[in-house]
Structure formats: structure tokens, C-alpha cells
């Protein structure tokens, strides 16, 4: 990957809020969604489409809110603990979900995420119901910051995490575990015959993707300042898959590119028109139909049914 171009892009992103301060919130949210879309993209590599990843996004955001309510007041601690929480939920759900394939995987993910959504929305006493929970501004390494300063810190931290975590995921995808994912998509039985436990490979991928979605959710919760059950609604999961596909599954930057473009387009379009969904839907269909480059692997490989 041309590192100079990537570095230039990150630099541009870092400097944009200086030119237009209101963009900072939009960009932070875009990076958060990019993380979640990256999680979806990891699973897409194995041919598993998950219409329920918004659940991990929401679970970590709620974890941040609950931890804050319990008194945890450090940004680093909040992020780490909530991502761990998201990963744990992922491990719990994944342990039985990764046994299924294709449409049933998608359906079960949807079912679990909607149960989660319904619980968050109805347990008014615990989760605040549809009103959600507030996320106060935490301290950073013991320094208490004002709200605008904290949001800047959050943005640059997210940018840094994007680079670091992006590189880490890139390494993961290039490792034997990552290649095994693509192999599962091509021919799963052959992989089993080679002695590689498919269930374990997929479970690891699922936990990684849940943790990524959780990181996105934690950042989003801290940036917005409020967590609502709508974070987990099925259309949110659909948008994550949409971002993963729009950006292209060829590599890690794809998810972030997709998220950034979608958020920027949204900010520009919403001042002009109310029919934002129309534009996104048409873009999605156009990309899928006419831009094979953006939809790697979905076209190139259909499951081989025989050895």
C-alpha cells in the first residue's frame, strides 16, 4: 500500500477540523462507524454477512455509560473496558452463531441484535429505555478537560487508533488466520480436511469483529454524549454492511473510506435535501451493480460445493 498516500490522507483528516471546526464531530463519528464497518468487513471476508453488528456497537456504548455511572472516570480505562465488554459479548454470541452459514448466520445475528435492542428499549429502569443514558465527559490521564477540549482529544485519539488498529487488523488479515477466513469462504470442507478447525478460526474472527465494532461504539458514545437503543436497530446494522461494501473489501482502508465518504456526503446532502436515504440506497445499488471493484470477493468467488 502506498504509505505516502495513506499518510497524506491521515494528515488531511487531522487538519480538516482546523479549517472547519464543525467537521470534527462528523469525522469522529465517521471513524467510529469505520471501525464497526471494518468488523463487518472482516466477517465478510469469510463470506459471512452479519446484519446484527450494531449490537456490539451499542453494547460497548452502553458499557461506557454504565461504567461512567459506576464511577469509572478515565478515558483510557473506559475505552479498554468497553472494548473488552464488546469482545466478551461477541465471544458469547459467536460461540453458537459461527456454526451457521449464509442466510441463517445473517438471520440469527439479526435475531440476537433485535433481542438486545428490544431489551435496551424496554428496560426503562435499567437502561433508561428509549431515552437512553448520558455519557459524561471523562478525565484524560487524570486531567479534567472542558467539553470542547475533550472532543478534540477524542478526535485525535480516534485518528491515531484508526492508524494503529488498522495496521494491526491488516497484519491479522495477512496472517494465516486471516487467510484461513478467505479459505472458509472458498471451500470450508477442504479446510477442515487440512486440519484447521474452522469453528475456532471463525470464532476468533467473530470476536475480533465484535471488538472492532465495540471500539467504534465506545468512541461514538463518548462523542455524542448519549447512548440510545437505536444504536442497535437492524437498519443501523444494515448501514454498517453498506459502508463495508461501499468502501470495498479489498483492504482495511476500505471501511474507513466508505464511512468518511458517507458521513461527509450526509453532512453536505442534509442541508439540501431530506431524502438522504434515497441517495444512499441508489449509491449502494449503483456501486454493487456497476462497480465490481468496490465489491471484492462477493463476485469473484461463489462457494464451491465440491472438493
Amino acid at each position: 500500500m502506498p504509505t505516502i498516500i495513506a499518510a497524506a490522507a491521515v494528515l488531511v483528516l487531522a487538519l480538516l477540523p482546523v479549517a472547519a471546526p464543525w467537521l470534527q464531530f462528523v469525522l469522529t463519528l465517521a471513524i467510529a462507524k469505520g471501525f464497526a464497518a471494518l468488523g463487518v468487513a472482516v466477517l465478510l471476508r469469510a463470506g459471512l454477512i452479519s446484519i446484527g453488528h450494531a449490537m456490539f456497537f451499542a453494547a460497548s456504548a452502553y458499557a461506557v455509560a454504565f461504567l461512567a455511572r459506576a464511577g469509572v472516570n478515565d478515558l483510557g480505562l473506559l475505552l479498554i473496558l468497553s472494548v473488552l465488554g464488546g469482545g466478551l459479548v461477541g465471544a458469547a454470541a459467536g460461540s453458537f452463531l459461527v456454526r451457521y452459514r449464509a442466510i441463517f448466520f445473517a438471520m440469527l445475528n439479526l435475531a440476537v441484535s433485535m433481542v438486545f435492542y428490544a431489551l435496551c428499549a424496554k428496560l426503562y429502569g435499567v437502561t433508561g429505555g428509549t431515552d437512553g443514558m448520558p455519557v459524561p465527559v471523562p478525565a484524560v490521564f487524570g486531567i479534567v478537560l472542558g467539553e470542547p477540549a475533550f472532543k478534540s482529544v477524542l478526535f485525535y485519539l480516534s485518528l491515531g487508533l484508526m492508524v494503529l488498529v488498522g495496521l494491526a487488523v491488516q497484519r491479522y488479515l495477512n496472517s494465516p488466520l486471516g487467510h484461513a477466513l478467505s479459505a472458509v469462504h472458498t471451500n470450508e470442507i477442504r479446510l477442515e480436511y487440512l486440519g484447521i478447525p474452522v469453528w475456532a478460526v471463525l470464532l476468533i474472527a467473530y470476536v475480533v469483529s465484535a471488538a472492532l465494532a465495540g471500539l467504534g461504539g465506545a468512541i461514538a458514545g463518548l462523542a455524542i454524549g448519549r447512548v440510545v437503543p437505536d444504536f442497535a436497530f437492524w437498519t443501523a446494522s444494515g448501514h454498517l454492511v453498506l459502508i463495508a461494501v461501499l468502501g470495498g473489501i479489498g483492504g482495511v482502508p476500505g471501511a474507513f473510506i466508505g464511512a468518511l465518504f458517507l458521513e461527509l456526503l450526509h453532512s453536505a446532502a442534509v442541508t439540501v435535501t431530506d431524502s438522504w436515504n434515497l441517495i444512499v440506497g441508489m449509491t449502494l445499488i449503483i456501486v454493487i451493480m456497476f462497480m465490481p471493484q468496490g465489491v471484492y470477493g462477493l463476485f469473484a468467488r461463489k462457494e464451491a460445493t465440491s472438493l
Binding site: G47, V115, A118, L123, W234
Partner: protein
Amino acid sequence: MLNAVIPLLLDSLASAALIFFAAVGLTLVFSVLRVLNVAHGSLYSIGGYVAASICLFIASRQFNPYWSFLALLFSAVCVAAIFGPLIERGLIRWTYGKSEAVQILITFGLFLILEDLQRVVFGVQSFYEDAPMRLLGTTSIGGVVYLNYQILLIAMALLVVIGLRLLISHTRLGRLITAVVADREMAQSIGIDTNRIFILAFSLGVFLAALGGALATPTSGIAPGLGADTMVLAFAVAAIGGLGQIEGAALASLIVGLARVLAIYLAPSLDAVAPYAAMLVVLLIRPYGLFGSVTARRI
């Protein structure tokens, strides 16, 4: 609580009837075309909007209100006739042979487009048109006053189940559909025009969805967002019953209706959780649904 048994059963049936209409089209389309139509809920709400608009028009022009019943049916036919072939030819046909991810994403894009189209065409306010409901009056059953319209809905749902079964088993079209479902390539090679069958099956699915929406409007309001809520409910029911199984969808709607009603009577704070919890439980035990045929591939 004993005096609540009859109302409980009646409410479950009434709930189930509405949910069934939402789900049966989805499961039918999946069985023939092997496509999960994420935009199905939007077609349900479009049917509702069209029906409400026509009924409001009838009311504003002071026509005989009994025309509203016809209007409900008529709006479903219109929606099916326009959207069915258009969507199948334009979008769904392109996805045959591609992976499920592509199908789901294409129909998700369609869902987004249709949701905004509804806002643009019908506006963002709520609609309510209850002439059909008021015309039929009420009956008192078990001490609770019920709308006769609700009983009509239950009857119509039964009609649809029986009608579909008769269609599939005893008409030529039904046999053709069964053939295409069983083996698409074979059906094509013996001369069945699969393209026509696909358009017909998809349009039938759209008709059922739009009919569901139209029949639902007299007893509930219609507002933006109905499509998204209905979609996931329809999906849950179709999955529980087994994708492609019409009787499965009927049984699943009963289960979901009963679960929801039980929750409202016994644990009101869990009424929204019930359908999805039921879906989760059933899918964990039988991933192909209650009436689904093949066992899950577990590795």
C-alpha cells in the same frame, strides 16, 4: 386472570392475522425466487398509504363508505401490479446466481429508496382512515368489546392460507411454481417460462404485503417508519416458520402473536422483546424454522 383467557386468545388471533399478512409474502417470495426481500416491509407500508389515501378520498367526496372495502383490495392490486414486475425485472433478476450478500444488499438499497419515496409522495404526517372499521360495528365476547373488523381480519387470514394452499396444490400455476421451486434449471429445460413464473410469484408476494398494509390501516395508524418495524417482524415470523413454508408462517404468526399478547397481559415491559426472543429460541433449536426441511450444516 381466568376471565382473561378468551380475550387473550382472541387478541392473539387478531395480532397473528396482521402479522401473518406481513410475513406470508416474504416467505413466498423466498421459496420461489430464493431471494430475501429486505424491502418487503416498505411494500407493506406503501400498500397501507395507498389504501389510506384512497379511503380518505372516498370520505372527502362523501361517497358511499362501503366502497372503502373495495378500495383496500384495489390498492393492494395496484401496488402489486406496478411494483411487482418493476422491482423483479429491474433489480431482483440481476441478483440471481449471485451470493446472498449481494441480494440482501440490493434489496436493502431498495428499502432505503422506498422509505424516502413514501415520505416524498405521502408526506411525513400520520394517516388514519377508519371508515371500514366503524362500518362493521362491535361485538361483546367474554365481557370485552371487540371490533367486528378484527374478526374479519382473522377470517381473511384464514382465507389466504387456504387459498394459497389451494393455489399451489390444485392449479396449473401452482404446479409450475412447485416445479420451479424444486429445481429451477430442470424446470427451465422442460420448457417452463421461469421468468414469467418469477414475475408472477414476486407480484403475488407484493400483493400480499400491500394487502396486509391496506387491511391494517383501519385498525392502526400509518406513519413513516412503519416499513422498518414491520420488516423485522415479518422476518422473524418467516424465519420461525421456515423460509418458504406458508403454513409455517401461519403457525409462526400464531406463536409470535401469542407471545406478544402474553407479554402485554403478564409482563408489559417485555412486549417488544417477545417476538425476537421467540425467534431466537426457535432458530437455536431448529435453524431452518419449524417447518423447514433441511438440517443446518454445522461444522
